[in-house]
């Protein structure tokens, strides 16, 4: 029982990371029906921006929490700006013109970002500063919880609830859902498609940046190749949950995270990827539209 709770907590933490990244895939897909394969590597870029900030002496002189918040803020702004620049310069002209072109260009950008970070920072891992919170534990009865797990779940949970609120309750969120259903009808409501595509890229990048800095603090180590597999699993989470659906991305992320933790906790760590992608195949076999996805009629 104790182990199960601990495993579920770890699963919730990892799942929260997947979910935050999955939101970026799903928002962009909902609007343009394309997958931005560079999205996972934005997490990596953000974690390096955060690391550079946290290495500065004047940041280290600040109170710990303030320093982390500042580093996260700079990472969010930098990553969002990077994503919008890539959209403007490289992606925008391909959207609606070449699905394969978009796929290949985003994939190329993903590898380019990895190589550039490797050139600047080298191939070895970089360590985030040690924070006392990262080793803090809370004991409830026989269950020992890591403080960091609770921080990640709390923060990511707030962001996820916030995103669901955004999608369901705000006009911009409603417009994004409308675009996912029927592009032209949404345009006839006065929705500016170009602006909303940019909003989806920026919000997705911001969530990826939070994931990058948070995972740096959580795991303590970052490296140039950390983003791709994370991105692939988050993409899997988005598809399992029902791509294009914001609640689905959250659910899919948590499902994949918990599944991974269960396999690692009770079977063997080496098998977890097999189970994750096996789950993808199973879900798509049983429910091609994903758990929360709607059977979207072919658009005219």
């Amino acid at each position: 029982m104790e182990t199960l709770v601990q495993v579920l907590i770890i699963g919730g933490t990892v799942g929260s990371f997947y979910a935050l990244v999955a939101l970026g895939y799903t928002m962009v897909y909902g609007i343009v029906r394309l997958i931005n394969f560079a999205h996972g590597d934005l997490v990596m870029v953000a974690s390096f921006i955060g690391w550079v900030m946290l290495e500065q002496a004047w940041v280290q002189a600040m109170p710990t929490l303030l320093g982390i918040l500042l580093a996260a803020g700079v990472a969010i702004a930098g990553t969002a700006l990077l994503s919008l620049t890539l959209l403007r310069l490289l992606y925008a002209r391909l959207i609606g013109r070449s699905t394969l072109g978009f796929l290949l260009v985003t994939l190329s950008v993903a590898f380019a970002m990895e190589e550039i970070i490797k050139l600047i920072f080298g191939a070895r891992e970089r360590a985030y500063p040690n924070y006392s919170l990262a080793t803090e534990t809370i004991t409830i009865g026989a269950i020992r919880l890591a403080g960091m797990d609770l921080v990640v779940i709390g923060l990511a949970g707030t962001l996820m609830v916030g995103m669901i609120w955004f999608a369901q309750r705000t006009m911009t969120g409603a417009a994004m859902r409308a675009l996912a259903i029927d592009h032209d009808a949404a345009r006839l409501m006065g929705v500016n498609v170009t602006a909303l595509i940019a909003a989806a890229f920026a919000i997705g990048a911001a969530l990826a940046a939070v994931t990058g800095v948070l995972s740096g603090v959580y795991y303590g180590r970052i490296s140039f190749d950390m983003g791709f597999m994370l991105g692939l699993k988050a993409f899997t989470a988005a598809v399992v949950g029902g791509i294009g659906n914001i609640g689905g991305a959250v659910l899919g992320g948590l499902v994949i995270g918990v599944l991974e933790a269960l396999v690692q906790g009770y079977l063997a760590g080496a098998w977890s990827d097999a189970f994750i992608f096996g789950a993808l195949i199973l879900v798509l076999y049983l429910r091609p539209q994903g758990i929360l996805g709607e059977r979207v009629a072919v658009r005219a």
């Binding site: 006009m171 259903i181 409501m189």
Partner: protein, 255 residues
């Protein structure tokens, strides 16, 4: 007062010309119908007016403003609402949400949107009863009311209705078209594309008949309803084969 004018419109898709040199105008308080068989270019004209496609030639003025090159969302803000063929309501969203999205360009004024939604519920009480229901579960007629109601949230100067009676029962078609007539009387100019020509001519002040992308006949609704060529070709007259083309008509197979 002319609120919308189209001059010398040439339209097409991917270089394939569909509409050739079409001109018409629309005055405040008026219903103008565009009639004609499938493929005549009526829907294409509607799409050009609302900015979904760009004219290859020609000029569209809305309340004196040239719409050339403006994206669809700007044209909505300027006061033209296009209710597309097939209604295109957001099926997995509630009726209330569809109406709220209709006020997207007024999103800085949510209280006004709520008031306008209440006005739509007064116009179409059934929508008020079904406010929380998913739009996809409504009947065809109710969906059409929703599509029209959604456009009325911004109190448009021009309402462009594309085939509003398509697939509806005769009673429901009449109700929708009478609503269009009533809206025009209250000052909204209505541009109407209809297959149901008899009903369209009943409510239209003026009408243009299109064939193969050209206007072949124009006149008041009442005149066209009596016109033997319209009678023969579209209103189920007996001697369609004997129709002599009008002065500005290109000789064609009647269909």
């Amino acid at each position: 007062m002319t609120i919308l004018s189209a001059t010398g419109l040439h339209l097409g898709y991917h270089g394939l010309a569909v509409v050739h040199d079409v001109s018409f105008d629309l005055r405040r308080g008026e219903v103008v119908a565009l009639l004609g068989p499938n493929g005549a270019g009526k829907t294409t004209i509607m799409k050009a007016i609302s900015g979904l496609i760009r004219p290859s030639h020609g000029r569209i003025l809305l309340d004196g403003i040239d719409l050339a090159g403006l994206p669809a969302h700007r044209i909505v803000s300027l006061g033209l609402r296009h209710v597309p063929e097939g209604r295109r309501v957001f099926g997995s969203m509630s009726v209330a949400e569809n109406l709220r999205l209709g006020g997207y360009t007024m999103r800085r004024h949510p209280a006004d949107i709520r008031d306008r939604i209440d006005e739509v519920y007064q116009l179409f009480p059934i929508l008020g009863q079904r406010a929380q229901q998913l739009a996809g579960t409504l009947s065809g007629g109710e969906q059409q009311m929703l599509a029209v109601g959604r456009a009325l949230i911004t109190r448009p100067l021009v309402l462009a209705l594309d085939e509003p009676s398509l697939g509806l029962s005769p009673r429901m078609s009449q109700e929708i078209l009478s609503t269009a007539r009533r809206l025009a009387r209250n000052g909204t100019a209505v541009l109407l594309v209809e297959q149901n020509i008899r009903e369209a001519l009943r409510i239209a002040d003026r009408a243009h008949v299109l064939e193969l992308g050209r206007i072949v006949l124009s006149g008041t609704g009442a005149d066209l309803a009596r016109d033997p060529r319209v009678e023969a070709t579209y209103l189920g007259g007996q001697s369609a084969g004997d129709v002599s083309p009008g002065p500005d008509t290109t000789p064609e197979e009647p269909r």
